[in-house]
Amino acid sequence: MAIIVDNETKLVVQGLTGSEGRFHGLRNRSYGTNVVAGVTPGKGGQDVDGIPVYNTVADAVREAGANTSLIFVPARFAPDAIYEAVDAGIRTVICITEHVPAHEMLRVYTYVRPKGVTLIGPNCPGVLSPGKSNVGIIPAEVFQPGSIGLVSRSGTLTYQIGHEVAQRGLGNSTIVGIGGDPVVGSGFIDILEKFEADPETKYVVLVGEIGGDEEEKAARWVSEHMSKPVFSYIAGFSAPPGKTMGHAGAIISGSSGTAQAKKEALEAVGIRVGTTPTEVAELVAAAAAV
């Protein structure tokens, strides 16, 4: 099972002929991901190390049977790339591109949402189901297969926690980086819902950070709908208000979005929150050992 990407994934990389697209597309393939196509307008008929390139996503779906898209195009072309993938019938779209304007994402989100398509990102590291499929830029060698679902707004922090979990002999069902922008295609709740339904996932680690109220909403959702144990880590306890901490979405505005408020909301529904990445790994390892 696992969620979002697995052995059934047939991947098309939009922007495969660019340097990032090529590097990560081939890395994903060497991990075992079934990369069936690339799309670059004007380069249809070429190939990248044997992967056929098409002019449009519609061609990639028709000719190569693509069902999942990975987007590496520059920010100004990313909304168009998402619309193209969705309108070509792709059901899972993962957008790595950063610096997509928030207003563009507002329109993309509003358009995509009712269609039931799973959109991950933008500005995210992608999705990895260890041993099955890696779609994006997550360094797969850090993780091993197992029963812990991991969902996060951050990339490298996820690797850190995955690494600490792996050092304790545990593994992950799926790792999902939802992205650090103010508007992302899937929020914590969307992913928690999938983990709850996935038989392979027994525990979930939710890695949040300052800004917005997604963690607070997730806490409420967990208390009402989730049977599996959830653990959490929040980054940004020492962040000053009004300053963007690297991610466009990581900002404390007024009194909302603080790490403390998120921690309290999570703990109020019984979710244990680690003070450091090490502590959250210890918490989940202790639970798994029982």
Binding site: A75, I137, G155, T156, L157, G212, A239, G246, H247
Partner: protein, 380 residues
């Protein structure tokens, strides 16, 4: 990016929202000239990117050009919540009969723009929301539907504006504010107060405006608004170097890769009993050159007594980072103790490079927590 009042008003004017005529001044003499050109009483307003300037004495009425010069003299150099006043906006004074409030913000939670309107303007909107929530009309806009005139009607009738001339003018401003908000890629466009003069004229007396940094590439006019002199000098230097840096006030310099891990590194230093000097994100690439630039920014802060270098290689390769550290030590002649923790892509190679060179001020630690403790100890 936050805009000054006068910059926001410039955008309002471009979109047809009525504002008073004004001039920018940076000296008392310029304030006098501005008042002469405008004629009649003027208001001298400090331009700072913070609230509460009225209470701090940053806004003063002046009867004539001489008075404007004097008031400007008083206000320039004033420290308002840590912001030193360097610029003034001199504008024609307005008579005020009523003060309303109108804003449109980017509601992340609802994933829709949110209008807020109340006839209780001129005060902090949080106060109205807390004390008299019914007086505050809130209305979301479907981003695909966009602005439609019914939205303005709901706001105006909902807040109880009953003068037809006022209703008409406000409805017009609501539509224009939405266009201004969307077409400028704003995260916030606020008019507080939106005033009605004794003659029944409605206009924006103040502006608060924030623009999405990711959209600045398509707004070169707004990008030019950025005032590098107002920023912290270290943050301005970091921007010049392309380094993501936020100044904090401790003594442990921090460098991580990726926003989440860098934030977490700051937190872990606090957990270890230290005081972080900054937040600094090396970003995704992590080339040797980027490492040198980041270390140059961090060590410009004279408070920094030790540096914690926390890298988890994904796209970033630890061997490249190690080479960057050695290069920076040499080029910048750094003697500050540096604690390094490397994991992930090519970490072994990176550790080997550092171990071979073994500069005296470099300490390599196996885990993030160990490294944080070591950096805190070295800062003492």
């Amino acid at each position: 990016m936050d805009l000054y009042e006068y910059q926001g008003k410039q955008l309002f004017k471009q979109f047809g929202i009525p504002v008073s005529e004004g001039r920018l001044a940076t000296t008392p003499e310029q304030a006098r000239t501005a008042a002469e050109e405008l004629g009649g009483p003027v208001v001298v307003k400090a331009q700072v990117l913070t609230g509460g300037r009225g209470k701090a004495g940053g806004v003063k009425l002046a009867d004539d050009p001489g008075d404007a010069e004097q008031k400007a003299q008083d206000i320039i150099g004033l420290d308002i919540r840590g912001h030193v006043v360097g610029k003034l906006w001199i504008e024609t004074a307005s008579d005020i009969a009523k003060e309303y409030y109108l804003s449109v913000t980017f509601d992340r939670g609802a994933k829709q723009p949110l209008f807020m309107f109340t006839t209780q303007g001129g005060v902090e909107i949080e106060e109205v929301a807390a004390n008299d929530p019914d007086a505050l009309v809130r209305l979301h806009v479907d981003p695909l539907e966009g602005y439609q005139p019914w939205i303005a009607r709901r706001l105006v009738y909902g807040a109880g504006v009953d003068d037809p001339a006022e209703q008409k003018q406000i409805a017009d401003i609501v539509g224009k504010l939405y266009r201004c908000f969307v077409e400028s890629d704003a995260m916030l466009a606020e008019i507080n107060p939106l005033i009605v003069t004794p003659d029944g004229e409605v206009k924006a007396l103040d502006s608060k405006f924030t623009v999405d940094d990711s959209a600045l590439y398509r707004h070169s006019d707004i990008a030019e608004f950025r005032d590098t002199s107002a920023a912290d000098p270290l943050e301005a230097f970091a921007r010049e170097k392309g380094v993501t840096y936020v100044k904090l006030d401790g003594d442990v310099g921090i460098l991580g890769n990726g926003a989440g891990l860098s934030m977490s590194t700051v937190d872990v230093v606090v957990v270890a009993g230290g005081r972080p000097a900054n937040f600094c994100d090396l970003g995704g690439g992590g080339s040797a050159e980027g490492v040198v630039d980041a270390l140059e920014v961090i060590t410009r802060d004279p408070q920094v007594k030790s540096i914690f270098f926390n890298i988890f290689g994904g796209i970033t390769r630890c061997d490249e980072v190690a080479r960057g550290i050695l290069e920076a030590l040499e080029r910048l002649q750094l003697e500050t103790p540096i604690v390094v923790r490397l994991d992930g892509t090519n970490a072994e190679e990176g550790r080997r490079i550092l171990a071979e060179a073994a500069p005296p001020n470099l300490h390599v630690e196996p885990t993030m927590l160990d490294a944080a403790r070591k950096a805190v100890e070295l800062a003492r």
